[in-house]
């Protein structure tokens, strides 16, 4: 999968997208599909232009604030939690079933409950995003921490080093590739979480814009918001990948040895 994402340049996907857009536009015109059923790319562009850049920017920022805060909160919770779960068998036995229960709960179903409890501010939206995001992070980080070769742990024990350094100098770094593969998945989940939260309680944001537009049968506008959401999600995925390469270049698999 990684190779597919890496080695192909920018052009093949762009050509694919352009082809789809042309076919889409053509079929809409040929079969005279009403725009409230399936708007053509032209309709979508027109709809997008009906909002000012400032309005778009406002909704974009509103959603991104929730995405980023929820994502950061999930990271701040899940990585220390993964360390604790690795360090203590007892904690692992008591907390993991709880985590599985949380993960098995459809977040969409509890989102309204969270909103009732916490009100309609940014906080419940951030919490919903965090809930959707943190599970893969905990699982993947724990897997990475536990995958550390036993020899390195024995080396650490035989040196009688302070126990925390087993984590700061060995396990956490060993887990970096695992953590980043989860971070990439999680950042796209965070966008989903923010939209779900906006569906339930918001007066702003791209998710709210989709909900509001469709309620007015303004489907073209909903599609325009969707395009912005997908682009943001892809951009965030790219940023996380880029950060891994910048901060931990050794953790990125090399295509060929020099």
């Amino acid at each position: 999968m990684k190779r597919i994402f890496r080695s192909s340049g920018w052009w093949p996907p762009l050509v694919t997208l352009a082809t789809i857009a042309v076919l889409w536009q053509g079929s809409c015109q040929l079969f005279q599909i009403p725009p409230y059923l399936l708007p053509s790319p032209g309709n979508i562009v027109t709809a997008a232009q009906s909002l000012s850049v400032g309005q778009w920017f406002g909704d974009f920022i509103a959603t991104m604030v929730v995405v980023i805060l929820g994502y950061l909160l999930a990271i701040a919770v899940s990585i220390p939690l993964a360390v604790l779960l690795t360090a203590s068998r007892l904690l692992s036995q008591t907390v993991v079933p709880l985590l599985v229960i949380v993960q098995s709960t459809p977040i969409v179903a509890i989102a309204p409950i969270i909103v009732v409890t916490l009100g309609a501010g940014v906080l419940p939206r951030v919490l919903i995003t965090c809930l959707i995001t943190f599970f893969p992070l905990v699982v993947s980080t724990t897997t990475g921490l536990r995958a550390t070769p036993p020899e390195l742990i024995e080396l650490s024990r035989s040196l009688r080093a302070p126990r925390y350094r087993e984590y700061t100098q060995i396990r956490l770094l060993y887990a970096i590739p695992y953590i980043f593969s989860a971070l990439r998945i999680s950042v796209t989940l965070a966008v989903i979480g923010a939209v779900v939260a906006e569906f339930v309680a918001a007066q702003e944001g791209l998710g709210y814009l989709i909900l509001f537009s469709t309620s007015q049968l303004h489907v073209a506008m909903a599609f325009a918001a969707l395009v912005v959401l997908v682009s943001s999600s892809l951009a965030l995925y790219g940023i996380v990948t880029l950060l891994q390469g910048l901060l931990f270049p050794w953790s990125v698999p090399k295509r060929a040895l020099p």
Partner: protein, 262 residues
């Protein structure tokens, strides 16, 4: 300390593991062996004879079910740091340059290193012929080079004891021979008490002062063979008639310990 008195002494050490389904696996049974200061002892035997368990017990990483271990007259009850360990796999840290991998035990233990220690680490790398690779990352090195870095890492604290757990078994035959000669040279330059676990009889004979032959399940000592080959040793040692004689004898012994063959 008297040179002939034991430096590492195992006294009737037994190790029983309880597996998850409550089976008892006897890894070591009644093992008594001693290693003198700066003596090179090889341990050979079939797979599953508890050789690695033996090393872990000497390192204090594992408490024996019965019996005791003494080092320099003191009972081993916890890990102690006058030991360097080389494992089967290099297990270098992928995020550290070669020189920092060598220095890792010091950074890990004390949180820092000083200039003198850096010089010492560089000298160790030079001994291994790796001075040009000090600033490379581990994945830029071949398997043999990585294992030499792991050896340098084990020696960076200049420990009195070196434990080697089949250190060359992951390497190709040619690299193995080169590594064995390398270890021989390093040990002759900086003598240490070494316990060297291996499957290879020629390797054991080339390197060691004594070879401990073990049987499998439970791991017991079958025989201890003195290797009275002249030092310094080298490739020529393998042509010595005594080398062949000892080799035959050990082979017969080890094969004899495997019931299916005997």
């Amino acid at each position: 300390m008297n040179d002939s008195s034991p430096y590492i002494a195992l006294d009737r050490v037994s190790q029983v593991f309880t597996t998850t389904d409550r089976d008892r696996v006897e890894a070591l049974a009644d093992v008594s062996v001693s290693v003198r200061r700066n003596e090179f002892v090889a341990v050979v035997g079939p797979s599953g004879c508890g050789k690695s368990t033996l090393l872990r017990i000497v390192a204090g990483l594992l408490q024996p079910s019965a019996g005791s271990v003494q080092i320099a007259g003191r009972e081993v009850v916890e890990p102690h740091d006058d030991i360097g360990i080389v494992f089967q796999r290099p297990t270098l840290l992928a995020w550290l340059r070669v020189i920092d991998n060598v220095l890792f035990p010091l950074v890990h233990k004390y949180g820092r290193t000083d200039a003198g220690q850096r010089l010492h680490a560089e000298a160790l790398l030079a001994t291994m012929g790796l001075e040009a690779f000090a600033n490379r990352m581990p994945d830029e090195l071949s398997g043999g080079m990585q294992q030499r870095v792991a050896l340098a890492r084990a020696l960076v604290q200049d420990p009195h004891i070196l434990l080697m757990d089949e250190p060359f078994s992951a390497l190709d035959a040619l690299t193995r021979d080169i590594m064995a000669l390398e270890v021989l040279r390093v040990w002759e330059e900086r003598p240490k008490s070494v316990i060297f676990v291996t499957h290879s009889i020629p390797e054991a004979l080339l390197l060691s002062d004594r070879v401990v032959v073990m049987t499998a399940r439970p791991g017991r000592i079958a025989e201890v063979v003195d290797v009275n080959l002249a030092r310094p040793r080298g490739l020529a040692t393998m042509g010595d008639p005594l080398f062949n004689e000892l080799s035959q004898r050990l082979r017969a012994h080890i094969l004899g310990t495997i019931p299916a063959v005997a």
